[in-house]
Symmetry: D2
Subunit: 380 residues, 4 copies
């Protein structure tokens, strides 16, 4: 049975988690998965085996009319989050964020457009058109990617069944066919509660991270600094071809009132969390981070009203000097979310005898325990 890192008795960092230790701990945020697992045996393009899916992250109920402030950072751009250019320019998110496999980005973007135009009448007439945000990882080692099994209904379902509360992790949704550090991984999540200020000025904010994790090689895997990848049996991963490729998409949510430029800075720090797991951001690995704050909603203006709107708005902003706690939180969350994506994923067999083994928790626990004991001894 798979267990999250904390269920195994370990954790990353010092800050307390939110209730579910998930991105959904940020009030309003919902996550939905459509998981596609079908067929076995050799690869027959168009037939399978299928190991892929769609994951939707919804910042709040009506992201179209009440946009949220957003920012992003590209650690290594060998990947795609379509729609990112507009997020970078306007600092706004106005659609759900969708994740899928690389060759399905177009189809998922198309489905998102269909879903948006049906649910928000007036796009393209009363309102400007929209550009959905769709990120990807390459699952072609375990999935018949070229067979293109993601359909529009899968996208609708991921959006419509999105819920708050606990988030399924591992081989679900857009994480179904992914591999991290040569082990089966997929979706992972984690959250932190950050208390800023003191005395009368105390405020507590939540920051949550969801990763679609698909990068790295076993040798470099570290968990909380422990060189786990060096200690596991290399034979476990002998089946996997050597690939430079890979990717990780990191979605960051917070209810701290941040500007777009502050979210960019926050997203940059997620890269440090990826690095702590052992990544050196390989040439072929697309490491892209997208963040949003739910604190200030930016109402959409109809094209008709463009001459009547109020010219200015007053917004609450967290001071940059107060952001360090969030920076610590995002490094911790990103690392723990990646580890959760590994801890929660079972072994999976794909086409052509490709096997992605599960991270062996029975081997992992004693390694982490021994390291903790050594640390505890030193502490005394």
């Amino acid at each position: 049975m798979r267990q999250r890192l904390r269920e195994l008795g370990f954790s990353i960092g010092h800050l307390p988690t939110g209730r579910y230790n998930a991105i959904t701990d940020v009030p309003g945020v919902r996550v939905g998965h459509t998981t596609l697992i079908e067929g076995d045996g050799p690869l027959v393009v168009g037939e399978g085996p299928v190991r892929t899916g769609v994951t939707a992250v919804l910042p709040h109920d009506d992201i179209f009319h009440n946009r949220v402030i957003a920012g992003s950072f590209v650690l290594n751009g060998a990947g795609e989050v379509s729609g990112l250019t507009q997020v970078a320019e306007w600092g706004l998110l106005e659609t759900p964020i969708l994740l899928t496999n690389t060759l399905a980005v177009g189809k998922v973007s198309d489905a998102a457009v269909k879903w948006m135009t049906r649910h928000f009448p007036g796009i393209g007439t009363d309102y400007d058109v929209i550009i959905p945000l769709v990120g990807e990882c390459d699952d072609s080692w375990l999935n018949d990617t070229v067979g293109r099994h993601v359909r529009s209904e899968h996208v609708y379902r991921a959006i419509e069944q999105a819920s708050d509360g606990p988030v399924r992790e591992g081989s679900v949704g857009a994480g179904t066919g992914l591999v991290t550090c040569d082990f089966k991984s997929g979706i992972g999540t984690s959250s932190r509660r950050v208390t800023l200020g003191q005395n009368d000025a105390v405020r507590t904010h939540t920051l949550g991270v969801l990763v679609q994790s698909n990068f790295g090689v076993m040798r470099s895997l570290r968990i909380d600094g422990v060189p786990v990848g060096e200690l596991l049996d290399p034979a476990m991963t002998a089946n996997r071809r050597l690939k430079n490729a890979g990717s990780i998409i990191v979605i960051v949510a917070t209810d701290a009132p941040l500007l777009s430029s502050q979210l960019v800075r926050l997203c940059k720090r997620a890269a440090l969390g990826i690095g702590r797991v052992g990544s050196f951001a390989a040439h072929g690995s697309g490491e892209i981070i997208v963040g949003f704050s739910t604190a200030n909603k930016v109402p959409r203006l109809g094209t008709q009203s463009s001459r009547d709107f109020t010219m200015t708005t007053s917004i609450e902003v967290l001071l940059d000097e107060a952001c360090d706690g969030l920076y610590e939180a995002i490094v911790e969350c990103t690392e723990e979310a990646i580890i959760n994506s590994l801890c929660m994923a079972d072994q999976m067999t794909g086409p052509a005898g490709h096997v992605a083994p599960a991270l062996p928790l029975d081997r992992l626990a004693p390694i982490l325990r021994r390291a903790r004991d050594a640390t505890d001894t030193a502490r005394i």
Copy 2:
């Protein structure tokens, strides 16, 4: 009858054009359009009227196996060229460039993936997956954009019928439903021959630009510095609602041997050409420039061969000090391509009585002639 700017007897700048004054003057570059014009009358979503299409720009015959060096610049990111993140990171272009309407980006990207996986077997198995480059402008004022009339076959056709030689301009392909400075526009192109060095070290290179032009308001339109927009009858454009939105995608090709970082610098200068036509890069206008050089091909490496390939390559590079001629050329080309997109587009009626008038060439020619006469008089 519509005529290009030079057919009217005018031109932009000093440098000589290539044979066709088109992006196809860069050897190997081909352009194809699929134009969709159907129906009339009021807007019925899903039925029409349809005024849209697809334009394909192919850097050379086998862009997949022999990638070209690429770069880009975003003047205002209120738009989308999906796939741009990877171009920015790797400095490589490995798919055709496709242009369409905003809400069709996903569908066109999906079709491009299908086309690529059929024509280049091994994607996702022997080779890494690919991320197509798909740019867009919003044609929803003249087109039933929400009705989503672009289909995969339209994409295939634009790619497969792409040819060298003269390029159709105005209301064709991805330019079918576009409006620039309140006049009907669409696709435009222009090229320049640039001679670098002197004496024994003379070299001549070609630079070509193709624009998908959809920005601005009549009042600010300038042609070769002449404030044409102020001199035309404002009544012409009374039918058009005031919109901040718009966009222009600029595709730049050259056979000068440029690195990715040099192409980024080159693309930045295209922005100055957009500015000369009167753009102030409105908040809602997505101004994105993508450029490539056909001089150095970068062979694709199969995943199997990843351990055997040669580690270094020797490439010819134009010195930065020699690039000024190309900078002048791109400013001239971008301006002239935009003007050509206006000069070559006929009046078009869209849904709901929306009418985009043609730029009135019979009014334009005397204005430009009078300005030239004033200049010529001053010259004496």
Copy 3:
């Protein structure tokens, strides 16, 4: 006698100017110059001739304790504004902006540090250290740059004598030894009043630009679209060696309440104004734009109080949808400020017989008049 463009009877664009048509029309902004002109004859390094200086732009009285929000854009980075990295990261300006010649940047930065530490006790102890903003253009064609004639007192004087009201232009301060489009130029300024909204929501803001202008070649000079550079006698500039080099630093001030990310977007549009004068941003030309908004002051936090400060602040922000008027204004202002830098500069002789002729206003006026007449005729 030199005259500004409007004194000659011409102007750029449509928007009304502020009282002085100067950056000082933005309330609180002050400008000071120290002009160094000494000696004649051949270049003797360390002796002269001296044709250089320092210009100071002060956003308001106490920029150290009440920082202003700032942003920047680099069109071509072949130049330097030291301190720009921190402006880009924090979006704050906390020192005066100083301009000088390239080889004096270090000395001026050093003098600014001395001035700041004397006037604001506690830097480095109670407060963090500061990094002054110092921009430059290369005046080595007219000035004994290597002789290094700028001293700390010159910096102090420029700061301390800074005043509001009319701004001296042409061969003053950091503009003393500069050349634009082969004519003597230097400092220029211009401003616009921008009215946003309508009915009850009307607001008027001021935007001002000051340029240190030192770029381009005569052939490409345009004024309000008229190809003036082609119409003047090339013999005028025969004395000048061909140089790719040059630069322009653009300082932008506004009282519109903009965030840092909005100021970055605003600064980008200044590049379009540079382009309208004829620039193609030559390889060796450093085109850097720095902007600030005086609307929201950001108080400096002492290091002691770092645990007690309020965690959030409420700020007023102009909506992005309302920024188009400012975008038009900055394009107009940048162009007019550059032209003013030319119109207001007298001929100057530097070392080794180097002569930078003044833009011949008696030739210019009829050219512009003829172009205007042609336009007016077309208008009828």
Copy 4:
């Protein structure tokens, strides 16, 4: 007695070091320090105590005439490397790199200009002017920074006494007054040998890193993943005020033939090495990385020859697909260089009783040993 990490019996990563485990292992690279330590007792501005200096990194003997290709990355821009804008634009380094304290950047830049104009006649006449690269960290907790004790001679000496071979580390040169994770630090260095390819195509390159390290708090310090900072006695650092500020400048040298865009990507990975030591890139911490490759020299063009030079050049370039080894190397080097800066620095007393304790090696060694033992046990 202080010892480098490897002298203590530990190391970071898997790759072999160069001969001296220093940036000077890259052939041609030299390092020089001028260390200023004078006075004791309370802070008297202008008198002392003085704990500062200058460090010079010279890419090769004649960086002016034969420039090297360079790139940079800013993890957090709360700091300054003046001259960086031009490096980013041109991808060239044409002066020595100098490091010092924040308030001395101007003075050091000025001295560098004096040194360059004396040693390379023709600057500003036969050749373009130059903009020196000067980075900084804030040493005001241990140094009378406001007293401004760095003089031009100190800069000349650092440049002229620069040598290859072993590099002094800890409290030397620009590292004299620095503190990392609440312990005395300063300059640190490390190098790696990277073997790329296999069989007949094997090549070995050297990559070296030098850091000026001044960031972080004890609690977050990690060495090779071991949470050392949690295990040391917090009382050790009780004397130090809590500061967000800090900084780290990372200089990267390699003889691998990299383009500027590749060096930018390489520099980005150094950020991951900073993160592994425990940094979350605090708001007030300036983390800036500058890298250069010595493989391709770019000759300087005189202004007279601007019309005669060869238009193109042929350069050898490492394929991006081959860069992963360098990415691993830079993460390892950056981490080890930071640790060396701590291991090699003795306790230092500054003004006002400020004491920066040395990292206690006698406590550190058993902690690292215990962690290694735990790992070794797990390995079996």
